[in-house]
């Protein structure tokens, strides 16, 4: 971790202005990603802007949406009664991630921006197109059991690491972003970029911009939902595959569905085609069909092909779990 300056602005405007005009500056909130990457030698901002004092930690419960300030802790979102009761996939996704201590440090804003866990990305001595476009990708022929099968390119197969972002994408979450001269809203799903030829570009955040809040609109399939995470050990581990799933039934038939996948995509993977396949069906055999569709375009590598079958089964299991819970 190289030396840096730490600035502690008092308000959001000041924080954004500092970020816009200071070369090599990065925001720090919980620090669980920033400090980690600095220790790896992957990130070396010359200035850190501490945003923890900014008034961005409120959760507003409104009739048509939930608005969560960007600085709300993972643990606070996970245990908020409205989230637990009305957006259970989100509570479960947060609780499935990291450890209790990390959830007490990490913010929702930082969570959606977290970088990949690919060991070649995290090793400055390895070839990584995400760190240096054109250097190559050591993961392609290396250890890539945890890597992505969806949204990949020959330049990058790194998995997106966040659990919460998977649920948020399933819930049609919207980011509120403030910049030096304007504010905007963007759907979280559209915010993320595929690696393509430029894996160094992961999202649409522009210089000086700060995520200030995340909105979750209410939706029919949000209340009966779950997050299923499959991993090699029982806790404190990133996903092999994960599924955020929600269903709303009109009598016996599915009126609305939400499915998003984690552990398999270079970005959190919403699968609308699978959701559409579920509409109007009664479930069970439709779940298998939806799972097929969801993994249709998966591109396995030498050692992670098992994720295709595992993801399909996890989708079916998650949908069954939601159905049983109703």
């Amino acid at each position: 971790m190289q030396a840096f300056e730490l600035l502690q602005p008092a308000d959001t405007r000041e924080a954004i202005e500092l970020s816009a005009r200071t070369k090599g500056a990065a925001f720090i909130a919980g620090g669980t990603n920033v400090v980690d990457l600095m220790k790896c030698g992957v990130a070396s901002p010359s200035t850190l802007i501490d945003i923890t004092r900014l008034p961005l930690a409120a959760i507003d419960v409104e009739p048509d949406r939930l608005r969560i300030g960007a600085l709300v802790l993972n643990s606070a979102v996970a245990h908020h009664p409205v989230v637990v009761e009305q957006f259970p996939m989100l509570a479960e996704a947060f609780l499935a991630g990291a450890s209790p201590q990390l959830r007490n440090m990490a913010t929702i804003g930082g969570n959606v921006l977290q970088r990949t866990r690919c060991p070649y990305f995290r090793d400055p001595a390895a070839a990584c197109n995400k760190r240096h476009p054109g250097d190559g990708c050591d993961a392609l022929e290396g250890l890539h059991r945890m890597h992505a099968i969806l949204g990949t390119s020959d330049a990058c197969i790194a998995t997106h690491a966040s659990d919460a972002a998977v649920a948020l994408v399933a819930l049609d979450a919207i980011l509120e972003i403030q910049g030096p001269s304007s504010a905007r809203r963007v759907s979280l799903e559209e915010f993320y970029s595929f690696p393509g030829d430029t894996p160094n570009v992961e999202n649409d955040l522009r210089p000086g911009e700060l995520i200030v809040a995340i909105e979750i609109p209410r939706g029919r399939a949000h209340k009966h939902s779950t997050y299923l995470k499959v991993r090699d050990r029982a806790s404190y581990e990133f996903a092999l595959v994960s599924v955020a799933a929600g269903l709303d039934f009109d009598g016996d038939r599915i009126g609305d569905a939400r499915i998003a996948l984690g552990g398999v995509g270079t970005i959190p993977w919403r699968v609308r085609a699978a959701e559409d396949a579920l509409l109007d069906s009664e479930g069970d055999s439709a779940y298998e069909r939806a799972a097929q569709i969801a993994l249709e375009h998966a591109v396995p590598r030498r050692d992670n092909g098992f994720k295709i079958e595992l993801a399909k089964r996890a989708i079916v299991r998650a949908l069954e779990t939601v159905r049983r819970g109703q």
């Binding site: 669980t32 007490n104 404190y236």
Partner: protein
């Protein structure tokens, strides 16, 4: 080099620290509170767990400078006036440690867990303590000790 005040276990410490000093290294190398351990320095083992304003966090992944004004509790602040906290006593009774290196982190983490309101069942305690690795494998006894304290404290 910035001057700062850190409030630890009820006492105020004046320290001069570069911004890139983690809370863990500030405690251990600058202030001399070595009870909190460094197991991995990357937030992957939980040995460095401390409480910040009552919340359990990992001291290795946060910067000391960002916690001025916060009430920081380390293992050194758990016993009071030489009397062991009942949880510490429970750890001894149940042999909830072997080499002892992860123990400070386990105890402080358990104290945090007890205030979070989600330690009612064995499953919740196991999951709630899964952020603290123990290579000696004392998990069964850690569970027993924490469970005993949950019952005693009625949380």
């Amino acid at each position: 080099m910035p001057q700062m005040k850190l409030k630890i276990n009820g006492s105020s410490h004046d320290v001069e620290l570069e911004p890139n000093v983690t809370l863990l290294d500030a405690l251990r190398e600058r202030i001399g509170l070595v009870g909190t351990k460094k197991g991995c320095d990357y937030g992957q083992c939980g040995a460095c767990t401390v409480l910040v304003d009552g919340r359990r966090v990992l001291a290795c992944l946060t910067l000391a400078m960002m916690h001025q004004g916060a009430e920081i509790t380390t293992i050194e602040g758990v016993a009071s006036n030489g009397s062991l906290h009942p949880l510490q006593q429970a750890f001894i009774e149940h042999d909830a440690f072997q080499c002892g290196f992860c123990t400070a982190g386990q105890i402080v983490s358990a104290l945090g867990l007890l205030t979070e309101g989600h330690a009612h069942t064995d499953g919740e305690i196991r999951e709630g303590m899964s952020g603290n690795l123990c290579r000696c494998g004392a998990y069964s006894n850690i569970l027993a000790a924490v469970r005993q304290e949950v019952r005693r404290a009625g949380v």
